[in-house]
């Protein structure tokens, strides 16, 4: 092993390797592959983590179906669609950012990162509007949770005129709280990932302005891109499951 390493170094001329190549890697390619592989392993643990939440959602939806249908009627499809578009656009700007890093365009990279940062904040802003509505209607589980909209749908005229929901029996109506527990757990955990991502983006904007990522060493930008796209994918599944699939039931 040490022989072949020495040979490889001798062949390429050891002094010439870029400063960001760690000595325990043979070359830049191997280093980038190792980092990418590790990032994917991390993302797979995240898949399992969110997978547990999705499984819980599907099981409870199956058990308390009428409650889940009516509770999901409370979500505003307009905000959900807008947020999906915002997040997809931010994924696009992030992908363009990685491209700028790969092709060594510093100002392009900074611009893309700033746009991604703003779109990420926009997503959280829209989420806040939606959360506020839930708080106003007492649809936050555990905090003076109100069954009013489900026991007496006509008391909630905006939702009623669209869906004409029939009143639920008390024991079923109580299970709408399970829906909102999962709603807040899933969108909240997703939002937490967004907040972490936005914080890292802020750090990256400073580093990119100083010339980082556009010097040939794109690993960090690229792996952050993977994280950001992963968060986008989670939302791609959350959106239909929470907002869309119960419109007609």
């Amino acid at each position: 092993m040490s022989d072949s390493t020495a040979l490889a170094h001798a062949e390429h001329g050891h002094e010439e390797h870029p400063a960001y190549l760690r000595h325990h890697f043979e070359n830049v390619e191997q280093q980038a592959d190792a980092a990418g592989f590790a990032m994917w392993l991390f993302l797979l643990t995240e898949v399992m983590f969110f997978g547990g939440l999705f499984t819980a959602y599907l099981i409870y939806r199956n058990w308390y179906y009428p409650a889940f249908v009516q509770a999901s009627h409370q979500l505003d499809i307009f905000w959900g669609t807008l947020n999906t578009a915002v997040l997809i656009t931010s994924s696009f700007t992030m992908a363009m950012g990685v491209w700028c890093a790969e092709t060594r365009r510093r100002s392009g990279l900074v611009l893309c990162l700033v746009l991604t940062f703003i779109l990420g904040l926009g997503f959280l802003g829209i989420k806040t509007i939606e959360y506020k509505e839930k708080i106003d209607k007492h649809h936050v589980p555990g905090f003076h949770y109100s069954l009013q909209s489900f026991l007496n749908p006509q008391s909630d005229p905006e939702i009623y005129k669209e869906y004409k929901d029939k009143p639920l029996a008390l024991d079923m109506a109580r299970h709408t709280e399970v829906y909102f527990s999962l709603y807040f757990a899933m969108t909240g955990m997703h939002a937490l990932h967004m907040i972490i991502g936005i914080a890292i983006l802020g750090f990256m904007i400073f580093r990119a302005r100083a010339g980082a990522y556009t010097n040939g060493h794109v690993t960090f930008a690229e792996n952050f891109g993977l994280y950001w796209h992963f968060v986008d994918i989670i939302w791609i599944f959350l959106f239909p499951l929470l907002y869309l699939i119960s419109r007609h039931q």
Partner: protein, 105 residues
Amino acid sequence: MTDQKEMEAASHHVVSPIIYIIIGGTLLVLTGVTVWASFLELGIFNPIVAILIACIKATIVVLFFMHVKYSSKLTKLTVFCGLFTFLALIGMTLADYFSRAWGRW
């Protein structure tokens, strides 16, 4: 230095922005389609169509935005194994829950 640049170019497939624009546009269009489909009365097919479109969107994000289409076999295998394990776990769990008469509701 040229040596090193060649090495980078060989190891690192740079995806062209045109592909990103096409993929971004496709994702936005599919978002519109899934919302439109949710307003149609499809009965049992409403959730199926919604999940199907979500899977298509997720697949093109993974393949193009996340570069898996252009990645090493190791990365492709890792992603596939992860997905397979996830589907096996969720599939077996759901099959168990949906087919057993346990739980009071």
